[in-house]
């Protein structure tokens, strides 16, 4: 599906006045761009009815949340400062690379993405902004786009570009956000900088046969198992799925950050 289709769709909806004011251009929340609506072809298909997952239009941060932004948040929210957060909500690695609870310091440049944050902390940050974390489907939908295509995952050059990043170790000091190319929606850094939390991380792995509690983990993504799923050759998507499947909500790692999302004010067109 091309971007043209979406534009046409929005135009038609607007002309018909289908959703009243909602269909009209809504000013984007600060730092956000509109993504979708569209359809995600999930890399892992948990049931036959889920070959295609509809994704309603939503607002998404153009770039990941930075150290400076997270610092402003913890200044306002003392309970989320390093040392004050109970272990239940963030493990020992929480903001460990910061020089102090209120001082990011030399290893965490103000305009670099914040990492070392748990899912609970990321969610609290977004909520404080009146936003939320993007869902896994939303994030993956946005991340399927290249500079020119809404879904570029079948494009060899796009795949190779992603794998080149995934095969590079994370630098000790992360570069600033916004240095990578914007995708067709205007979103940057979905690839090439850090991993990102999503609201329902790992949940798509829970399928009929795992609901009784057999580990819905990553074993099924090892080796040949991965190749039996929907999108052959999309290793990068499998990696993200497997990575998220290994996470727990209190985990923190030195290359895992986040960005926020929001519903359109008038609801999904």
């Amino acid at each position: 599906m091309s971007r043209g289709h979406f534009k046409t769709g929005a135009l038609v909806a607007g002309l018909l006045g289908l959703t009243g004011t909602a269909a009209r251009a809504e000013p984007p929340p600060r730092g956000m761009v509109k993504v979708g609506p569209g359809t995600l072809r999930p890399v892992y298909v948990p049931s036959p009815e889920e070959q295609r997952v509809p994704v309603a239009a939503f607002w998404m941060d153009r770039v990941p949340v930075t150290n400076a932004e997270f610092l402003a948040f913890v200044r306002q929210a003392p309970t989320w400062r390093r040392g004050a957060v109970p272990r239940l909500f963030a493990d020992a690695g929480y903001l460990r690379h910061w020089a102090g609870p209120l001082r990011p310091g030399p290893d965490a440049a103000p305009d670099a993405p914040v990492v070392g944050v748990s899912w609970f902390a990321a969610r609290a940050y977004c909520e404080a902004r009146g936003a939320r974390l993007p869902t896994e489907a939303e994030w993956e939908f946005a991340a399927s786009a290249s500079r020119t295509e809404v879904d570029a995952r079948d494009t060899e050059a796009f795949r190779e570009q992603l794998l080149r990043w995934y095969s590079r170790p994370t630098p000790r000091v992360l570069p600033p956000v916004g240095r990578t190319e914007a995708n067709v929606w205007g979103v940057k850094d979905l690839h090439g900088l850090i991993w990102e939390w999503v609201l329902d991380f790992g949940n798509t792995l829970v399928s009929e046969d795992s609901r009784e509690g057999s580990p819905a983990g990553t074993s099924r993504f090892c080796g040949a198992g991965a190749l039996s799923s929907g999108e052959k050759g999309d290793y990068a998507s499998f990696m993200r799925l497997a990575f998220r499947g290994s996470l727990q909500a209190a985990y923190t790692t030195g290359n895992l950050g986040f960005r926020c999302a929001r519903d359109l004010a008038g609801g999904a067109p």
Binding site: G83, A92, L163, R168, N203, V206, Q248
Partner: protein
């Protein structure tokens, strides 16, 4: 080549090992202001608001002071949840009456839209369990995410309105810290039974 990429990826993806950090005592004192501070890993740190099957407002912390068996369910579940009830009944049957009287079985709904207090009361009746000891709770969507997150339970709504979720029974000690986690329908019960006995024995 592919193998190499995988190896690097796995290295990237490995979460940081939980090293004991130099905890900031001063900052900790802030949350320790109240009478008896909860342990850092206590699930009672969650301030989620619930309604129980009697329509009463509840917080998890209200169960502080006694061991709790905690799990999640949804009432319209055709298979996994009846199995969960059966399993919890077996665990309860394995306890002495004194121990049983001390343990609360707390089940949080994954489907608050349908699991109303009335529906939860019906469920308790259907399964013929003691409503004093079996407490069914509902909260909102964000609350469900929080509880599932601290219990490490993955779940999702599937097309058609049903849900897939992991079946995990968690034993909390009197302070709300996870003592034992029983994942899956085939996990042997003995270990959990032993821990229940230990936690309910008079000191």
């Amino acid at each position: 080549m592919r193998k190499h990429i995988l190896a690097v990826l796995l290295a990237l993806a490995t979460p940081s090992a939980a090293e004991p950090p130099p905890r900031a005592r001063a900052a900790k004192a802030e949350s320790a202001g109240t009478a008896r501070a909860l342990p850092e890993l206590s699930l009672y740190q969650l301030k989620t608001d619930f309604t129980d099957q009697d329509g009463q407002a509840v917080r998890l912390e209200d169960f502080r002071g006694q061991p709790v068996l905690l799990s999640m369910f949804y009432g319209t579940c055709p298979l996994a949840c009846p199995l969960l009830f059966a399993r919890l009944k077996r665990i309860a049957a394995g306890m002495t009456p004194e121990a049983r009287a001390r343990v609360r079985i707390v089940l949080v709904s994954l489907d608050p839209a349908r699991d109303t207090p009335e529906a939860m009361t019906r469920l308790v009746r259907t399964h013929g369990v003691d409503p004093e000891r079996w407490r069914l709770l509902r909260t909102d969507e964000a609350g469900v995410r929080d509880v599932a997150a601290v219990l490490g339970i993955r779940y999702r709504t599937v097309p058609g309105g049903g849900m897939n979720h992991e079946s995990v029974i968690t034993l909390l000690d009197a302070e709300g810290v996870i003592d034992t986690r029983l994942a899956g329908p085939d996990a042997p019960l003995e270990g959990l039974q032993e821990r229940l006995t230990a936690l309910t024995s008079p000191r």
